[in-house]
Symmetry: C2
């Protein structure tokens, strides 16, 4: 806090006495707002995956989420925290976090910078729980303004990217089958870096010539091998490479960035706004995920920062309902690529919103994040 803001917040400059934070009421915030109060509701929900999701060390058929709703003056904004187990948050941790928030202290959802600063300060981490507040606030504000966020951000909804569909590592037979099923998608994502890289690509290319991107998940250990692979991939119609080497391998990543004929995107190397600047010179772009970066407001700042730094943006997601995916999609006209297939992977989506039409992220004109409630959970 700088000196001016300290003086203002502490009341010294205006001759007020210092009061403990706990006694601050909404009258300390903007006084000219309408007198309505925001109230937060939340409910745990388990997403049912259409197919069992297999990673190196585990497989699972559900993903736990926390669905949120903020009520204010007859409107309700919806949000979501998606918490795949390997990221450390749980429905219990999200409930504990959300229980600490006192939204009724704020006179208006439009004080979103103040609100999200307070949310961020409640505890370290908890980025998905934080995102569930951010998304609900954005949905609420958009509904109050009767406009979708892509419009409030001044973006052209025709500028949305194609979204990729992920093909997991599997036997050649299964991979060929999955690629055929994914024919509506105009770009496929291939998980690589586990030893059968060339087999995966050759299997896919035996049945499809669609553009591919590859996600190495830090799997390549040697920079020359990485560069050789990237040249090999380029000849086979791969359009970009995600997180090729360990995020700590700064020198190798800088060398690879200087030599690579394909764009390289950072994923594990960054989470939030503060991490973006350090990716410059090592990567050509960044993968922004709402559940890692605490939501739409920070994601929007990250996208604009990356573009200001002459880097590119892609948008990713976890397994999520149409709530969080539609929130991310609002931002997608700023991105080169999207990987927003999270809602397609589940069988019990309580919302409907953004659609994938012929592989392209397709925004609607509904206000806020652009979703309808199909099944009331929260």
């Amino acid at each position: 806090m700088n000196r001016r803001k300290f003086i203002r917040h502490s009341g010294i400059a205006s001759g007020m006495i210092l009061v403990p934070v706990s006694s601050l009421s909404s009258c300390d915030y903007k006084k000219t707002q309408k007198p309505g109060k925001m109230s937060l509701r939340f409910a745990p929900f388990d997403l049912q995956l259409k197919h069992v999701f297999t990673l190196a060390n585990s497989s699972r058929s559900t993903t736990p989420v926390m669905l949120t709703a903020i009520d204010y003056e007859g409107h309700t904004g919806y949000g979501e925290a998606s918490m795949p187990p390997y990221l450390g948050e749980t429905q219990e941790s999200a409930a504990a976090f959300l229980s600490k928030l006192r939204l009724d202290r704020f006179a208006s959802p439009f004080l979103i910078e103040d609100i999200l600063t307070e949310v961020d300060g409640i505890a370290e981490g908890n980025s998905a729980a934080k995102a569930s507040i951010d998304i609900a606030l954005h949905d609420l504000i958009g509904k109050l303004l009767k406009r979708p966020w892509h419009q409030l951000w001044g973006l052209n909804p025709d500028d949305t990217p194609m979204t990729s569909f992920t093909i997991g590592i599997d036997t050649p037979e299964v991979v060929r089958e999955k690629v055929k099923e994914a024919s509506p998608y105009k770009i496929l994502k291939v998980k690589m870096g586990r030893g059968n890289d060339t087999e995966m690509i050759e299997t896919i290319r035996s049945v499809s010539q669609v553009p591919l991107c590859v996600d190495i998940n830090q799997g390549w250990k040697d920079k020359q091998h990485a560069l050789d692979m990237i040249y090999w991939l380029k000849e086979r119609g791969i359009v970009f490479v995600e997180q090729p080497m360990a995020k700590e391998a700064i020198d190798d990543l800088a060398w690879l960035h200087d030599h690579s004929p394909l764009p390289i995107y950072a994923d594990e190397a960054l989470q939030r706004l503060k991490d973006v600047e350090s990716t410059k010179g090592l990567y050509d772009g960044i993968n922004i995920k709402l559940m890692k970066c605490t939501g739409m407001r920070e994601a929007h700042k990250m996208a604009n920062l990356a573009i200001s730094l002459k880097m590119k943006v892609m948008l990713g997601c976890m397994t999520e309902t149409s709530c969080a995916v539609s929130a991310a999609a609002q931002l997608s006209p700023l991105s080169e690529f999207a990987d927003l297939d999270g809602n397609v992977l589940i069988s019990n989506d309580p919302y409907e919103g953004m659609l994938i039409r012929e592989g392209k992220v397709t925004l609607n004109d509904s206000p806020g994040i652009g979703i309808n409630v199909k099944q009331k959970i929260v």
Copy 2:
């Protein structure tokens, strides 16, 4: 333009034929908008200065501006280009520039990213003329949403800074008189770097202990002299230093930045978003002026970029009406300091908007940029 966007814009991907840009109509833009068309009006206007403005090589009693208005569906957004002669734009150049713009090609003012990209591409330079479109569009959008921009940006209007009032170089008698007249202001700006630096400060300090900032306008030529002066100034209650040395003196500025006990702000060293990154490591903050950076949208991106780079923001202005000053003020909760006294210096302001109350930028709740028309010019 990247490959994806080229394909989309050129129509290759969807099998359309290529058409010349001149034949594009609004139906090429978003089809779901209401059918209203925007129309632009503009009128030259000469601001009458309350006091003759003296610079090293010239003096003047008027500042030429171009006032703009964009009409759309019963609403009107107002804008302004202020063009002090030394910056190179004129009422003629602004009229020529504005005449080239075809706003009726766009289906909605909400497509502001597309519109301003087109505006920026009409010609190099013309930053004030560009700002006059940007400001009018923001005013219009805010009126359509019935909200002021500080609220649409999610900022707390209580977070506005104090604004400085500039004390020009003059005889000790005149300086003392001006300082007494400026008593409502809680911070004064002193123009320095013309050889009588210590005399100016000592004259002011003989009648006032108010915090000061100093604007050197690149006037110091030697880095050790600059550092000695900054230490001398710090002892006399100066709170920051603006553009101490020539913007080209990169090494000297980096050294000064490393050693200075006071924050140093860039002014002449930057104009637009593309310039911000290069100021890091040389300055602690940037002075953003709408007339140099083409308007509110780019200014907002610059402020967020600077904050992301852990730099500070101040907002400056030219001699302007309440239109452009109120537009800049919407952004001021993001700034540490403001130098938004442009409208106070003129006697024929056709608008009223942002006010300075006890030295503090004070925003109102009126939609858009928050102005009322007192005298209809455009």
